[in-house]
Symmetry: C2
Subunit: 211 residues, 2 copies
DNA sequence: TTCCGTATAGTCGGTTCCGACTATCAGGGA
DNA sequence: TCCCTGATAGTCGGAACCGACTATACGGAA
């Protein structure tokens, strides 16, 4: 699988909007925010304009007019080309079919959970659990007053359900791990440094609590 | 919360290794790979050397010797400073406590699931489900012959359990969504473009199947 | 009437990131 | 003996990314 010419998913969002109607970049950003898509796409003005230019370079979109309102900066309105419409669908298809490695910050931190020691680790995870629970509530509220009230078809917010599911899973893992730390079922070796590298104490019951 | 001076988590991995003993960058990369940490950290030679330099600039690590073996390129060995040891722990603590927005490619694609139409969407998700199941199996095998055989304490591979849990959740959501598409409980509006923007057909039973 | 905050629209320079490339050495097969 | 592959160690130029900044317009408060 050769690498995609454009990999920033913000370009996917742009392409998506231009399937509906021509727009200028600033309008894309505000439309995405209005639709709560700013939690699926990282919208950054700088990146947005770079992305749009890259899409033009590849012939996926093209400028259709430049207008000026009074003395404000000029706006360039873009539309998707036929190529852009085709690639939009192909790209979605590809992203859905093939899982790719991502490197979430949380995984990085969990890799070194041991460095905090059991008490501080459990406390830190507990704080995270609180934040996660809050976020889940907020998101449920958003879903309730968009899809729940029939304003927006469920399919158009399906990614929100997806991310919600992911957070719930993370929360469950976090809580389970806190419990395992507190009740000692996640054995905490006292790693020690020797000239030969590292050694660690074995759990008292042989290799019992390593699952 | 002010932005971290260094945000690339590869720097966290470097710091982690240098808690054990001084190393040169190439050795860091191979050690991380040996320990299967390359699924939590994106290891890229270019980024690695940049990261090491950034850590030196901030005084978190420092070169302790430069050796040369025959006519091979010179190796510079680095060690963590006191500051680096403190920041290592603080950084982990921070990453654990506060969830940050990430923008996984899958979410981007799911946002535009509608664009594929129900049949192709279900098929694409089904392919993904297959890949995910495979990955989960592989990862379980890795866990079995490291932690499972008592070679490595469970705590040192805890992030693998975490990512496994996340994948299982994603798989579950994916399968559920495939079912909902196939049995029609995820209503698929026929979006149509008008001059006023977009309209969509309502589900036949009023607003029934929007959850 | 002036001032302030916010919305509109986009620019720009610096950092970060990436992966293709260089170059040497060691070991095994033909 | 020669060649090929893979490991060792790191360099470099360009692409991507970011966020602070500019500049205008507008509505309401003081």
């Amino acid at each position: 699988m050769a690498k995609r010419k454009i990999s920033n998913t913000l370009a996917l969002a742009v392409l998506g909007l231009l399937q509906e109607r021509p727009m200028h970049p600033y309008e894309m950003a505000s439309t995405l925010r209005e639709r709560h898509k700013d939690s699926s796409f990282k919208i950054n003005s700088g990146s947005l304009y770079d992305t749009v230019e890259a899409l033009v370079r590849h012939g996926w979109i093209e400028p259709v007019e430049t207008a000026r309102d009074g003395r404000r900066p000029e706006r360039t309105v873009y539309a998707a080309t036929q190529l852009g419409q085709d690639e939009f669908v192909r790209w979605i298809d590809e992203l859905l079919r093939m899982p790719v490695a991502e490197y979430p910050k949380f995984m990085a931190a969990v890799s070194y959970l041991g460095a905090l020691g059991p008490d501080r680790a459990a406390e830190a995870l507990a704080e995270r659990a609180g934040h996660l629970a809050e976020r889940i509530d907020e998101t449920n509220r958003v879903l309730a007053d968009t899809v729940g009230s029939g304003q927006v078809p469920r399919l158009f917010m399906i990614e929100v359900e997806c991310v919600l599911h992911a957070w719930e899973a993370e929360l469950a893992w976090t809580r389970r791990t806190i419990d395992e730390i507190r009740d000692g079922s996640l054995f905490w070796p006292e790693a020690e440094r020797t000239e030969q590298g590292w050694t660690w104490s074995a759990p008292s019951d042989g290799r019992g609590s390593n699952r």
